[in-house]
């Protein structure tokens, strides 16, 4: 069984220093086995300015088994599948330690964005481009960040309006939007599942 006490504490601890780290974790379902994480693109990389959403599922053995994470936001990166968002990162596999937390894992993912490892690629196409034509790689990565990782141009009020039109009460819509960092689709998902 997942240690929910610990997950609860992790969430509290994460929200406490959200300002500093920029990392957010919010439950998608009530039972805390399905969560969503958000990391800001690291400054000085083609991912800068983007907000990246990850889907997090906790296996039964958590924290003794690593959480299962993948990118929901499309990313152009040698160690992240451009198709499925699967991440190739050792601490999410055999190097996982129970002493790591969801927050530290997300920080490692963020660090992976700044320091790709093209020699151990998840996405061979991206990795080849990275090695052979770094300029084009940067361009593509930036373009993907612009297209997929920037919050939509709609203002908050417009999003609230849109979601309310779908039949959700205003208070719920607002709290949902807040919980997912203003992402309209994520908020909708959260509203539907709650």
């Amino acid at each position: 069984m997942v240690d929910f006490g610990r997950v609860q504490k992790e969430l509290q601890e994460c929200s406490r220093d959200m300002e500093a780290s920029g990392i957010k974790i919010a439950p998608v379902s009530d039972n805390l086995v399905h969560l969503s994480g958000t990391i800001p693109g690291p400054i000085g990389t083609p991912y800068e300015g983007g907000t990246f959403h990850l889907d997090i599922k906790l296996p039964d053995g958590y924290p003794f088994e690593p959480p299962k994470m993948h990118f929901v936001t499309k990313v152009w990166h040698p160690n992240i599948s451009s198709q499925s968002g699967a991440i190739c990162l050792d601490i999410l596999k055999d190097q996982w330690s129970p002493a790591l937390t969801l927050k530290t894992a997300l920080l490692s993912v963020q660090a992976l964005l700044s320091a790709p490892e093209p020699d151990d690629p998840q996405d061979a196409v991206v990795a080849q481009q990275y090695l052979r034509d770094y300029q084009t790689f940067q361009g593509t990565a930036r373009y993907w960040t612009e297209s997929f990782a920037k919050t939509s141009s709609l203002g908050v009020e417009e999003k609230v309006q849109k979601l309310m039109e779908m039949g959700f009460p205003e208070s719920l819509v607002r709290s949902a939007l807040e919980a997912v960092g203003g992402d309209e689709n994520m908020a909708l998902e959260k509203l539907c599942s709650s």
């Binding site: 610990r6 924290p63 003794f64 088994e65 330690s97 129970p98 002493a99 530290t104």
Partner: protein, 595 residues
């Protein structure tokens, strides 16, 4: 192997031996008897479920003594180095103790006292709860977490099959957890899982160790075999299965493992037949049956009535002239095609030659048990007769020799097939050298074959109906031929090892050495070990190597415990008789050698 050197003077050729038979004192029957005594202190051991622990004690003890370590640390080191003590020692010399330990995840904690006592509450970083100090455990590496979390971690790791390398929970801590703590904590919650953990740990000695392998029997007998020095040997497990230790298939010397693998595959596929069919036949364009051309012109007609051109395989009309077939025209007969046909034919005949002989001998030894039965029947009849001849051990000895030599002979054919063929050693020898060597080998093979057949013929004589003097004569023949075939086998192995395989540039072919006594039966390990390191090492009587029988009573007193009942239980009592039955792992090797 040393025995091989003495082979020359004992060598008889077949003509020689006929005349030698007249002087019966050439071969002492006693000598022949001695030959069949079970091997003394065989170097291969059967490791059963019960003796698995005892089997690894020697290695553990060496490492424990040398580095003054506790057993679980020694085990961690050995598992890391795949039970290769020499390699472990080399790393120790080369990199030093600290590096040896840290690479393997061993942390030796000097202050063994509970350092948790200073506070009654500790924070567990895993569950993020404050827990009382007595429900938390500190590993040797210094990391402390609550028992609940440790247990959870252990269970996940054991279920993942990671029992042999359970690391500390702290991030980037390389330390391997103390097996006693794992065992203790897990058994409280899941006793069955703790058992599994213990078994995984014990079986590391078999699975991570190149000198120990599971017996390949199916259904599995549960035993493993340990060899001492040479991985290239053939053994017989306690379950009766004989196999090649190196490749785990049937015992196949003097064929090398690689040759045997190729040969077995070739026999299985019958690839030569397929080869022949593709070259010698063409599928009919109508009914697709393979059609063989039995002479005549290139207009071939299938039994289904369809006519086709032999050259291109295309369907044609029936009328033809010497240069043209109606409704059809294709290129000329091609030279390389003729070569290909020639070659395939030659290869096939070559394969058939070796395969037929291999098969003939294999078939013969498949009938062994039947032959043995009929011959032993003759022995029992003879024994009941009023006769001055009482001892018929020469018959059984002769039979054993016959069976062994037949095996050697049979596997020598696939060996020759590859040794003198193009497939493996084309670039190793020029044609002339190959021819010389082939003749040399074939001479030996032929001699052996002739003597084996003679031995076989003698044993099949109805000696139970013969008068005494005739029986005596057969007895002399059998004993003589036994010695001859033994020597010829020895020489053949010698020739293969030194003159044939030994000359190769690519040293990838090794064969199990010839054993005159046949494939060695692995002896059982005694299981009189306690898990605790005992202190009796130093007070072992020095003379305990003098007799196998008495040393059994000279066990180190420290080991006298409740598991004594399981000691020395031997499944096969016939082994009691000879020295070296008790193999004390505590003794240094030179004492054991004297045994």
């Amino acid at each position: 192997m040393d025995d091989f050197m003495s082979g020359d003077e004992d060598y008889y050729d077949s003509d020689h031996s006929e005349s030698d038979l007249d002087s019966p004192d050439i071969i002492e029957n006693d000598e022949a008897d001695v030959q069949w005594a079970p091997p003394k202190g065989s170097s291969t051991k059967v490791i059963t479920k019960e003796s698995l622990l005892a089997a690894q004690k020697e290695d553990l003890r060496r490492v424990m003594d040398l580095l003054s370590l506790r057993e679980h640390h020694a085990r961690t080191l050995l598992i890391h180095h795949r039970w290769d003590v020499e390699k472990l020692l080399a790393v120790l010399v080369e990199k030093g103790k600290a590096s040896l330990f840290s690479d393997a995840g061993v942390t030796v904690n000097e202050d063994t006292g509970s350092s948790l006592s200073f506070s009654s509450e500790v924070m567990c970083d895993i569950c993020m709860e404050e827990v009382s100090a007595d429900t938390a455990t500190k590993m040797d590496c210094g990391h402390c977490f609550c028992n609940e979390c440790w247990t959870g971690h252990f269970i996940v790791k054991i279920n993942e099959g990671q029992s042999r390398r359970i690391r500390c929970m702290a991030h980037k801590c390389n330390a391997i957890c103390d097996e006693a703590i794992v065992r203790n904590l897990v058994s409280k919650k899941h006793p069955d899982l703790a058992e599994k953990f213990d078994r995984f740990l014990l079986e590391s000695y078999i699975e991570d160790n190149k000198m120990v392998k599971w017996c390949p029997s199916t259904p599995h007998c549960g035993n493993a075999i340990r060899v001492e020095e040479d991985e290239f040997c053939e053994v017989e497990c306690a379950c009766g299965l004989q196999f090649c230790f190196s490749c785990l298939s049937e015992a196949h010397s003097p064929c090398s493992c690689w040759m045997w693998e190729l040969w077995a595959k070739k026999c299985r596929d019958e690839s030569e037949t397929v080869n022949w069919i593709t070259v010698h036949t063409k599928p009919c364009p109508k009914c697709h049956k393979p059609v063989e051309k039995n002479g005549g012109c290139n207009l071939v007609s299938c039994i289904c009535g369809q006519a086709f051109c032999w050259l291109c395989g295309g369907a044609t009309g029936r009328d033809h002239t010497w240069s043209r077939i109606t409704g059809h025209s294709c290129g000329r007969y091609k030279e390389d095609k003729a070569n290909k046909t020639e070659r395939a034919k030659r290869d096939l005949y070559r394969y058939m030659h070796y395969h037929n002989r291999y098969k003939a001998h294999t078939d013969s030894f498949k009938l062994e048990s039947k032959l043995k039965e009929t011959i032993l029947e003759k022995v029992s009849i003879s024994e009941e007769r009023e006769s001055r001849l009482r001892d018929f051990s020469w018959v059984t000895n002769g039979l054993c020799r016959l069976f062994r030599s037949r095996r050697v002979l049979s596997y020598s054919y696939p060996f020759a097939f590859y040794m003198f063929g193009d497939e493996l050693f084309r670039d190793e020898m020029d044609l002339q050298e190959r021819e010389i060597k082939q003749h040399l080998f074939e001479d030996q093979q032929q001699q052996l074959e002739a003597n084996v057949e003679k031995l076989s013929k003698n044993l099949e004589e109805p000696f139970d109906q013969y008068p005494d003097d005739k029986v005596m004569e057969i007895r002399m023949q059998v004993i003589n031929l036994s010695v001859i075939t033994d020597n010829l086998c020895k020489k053949m192995y010698e020739c293969i090892e030194n003159d044939l395989l030994g000359c190769l540039q690519l040293g990838t072919h090794n064969i199990a050495p010839y054993k005159s006594k046949g494939i060695e039966r692995a002896s059982e390990l005694s299981t009189c070990w306690t898990t605790k390191p005992n202190t009796a090492d130093n007070c072992l009587p020095l003379d305990c190597g003098t007799s196998g029988g008495s040393s059994e009573h000279d066990r180190p007193s420290g080991s006298g415990s409740s598991d004594d009942s399981g000691c020395f239980s031997r499944k096969r009592p016939r082994k009691e008789g000879f020295g070296g039955g008790f193999f004390d792992l505590n003794l240094p090797a030179e004492v054991i050698d004297r045994n």
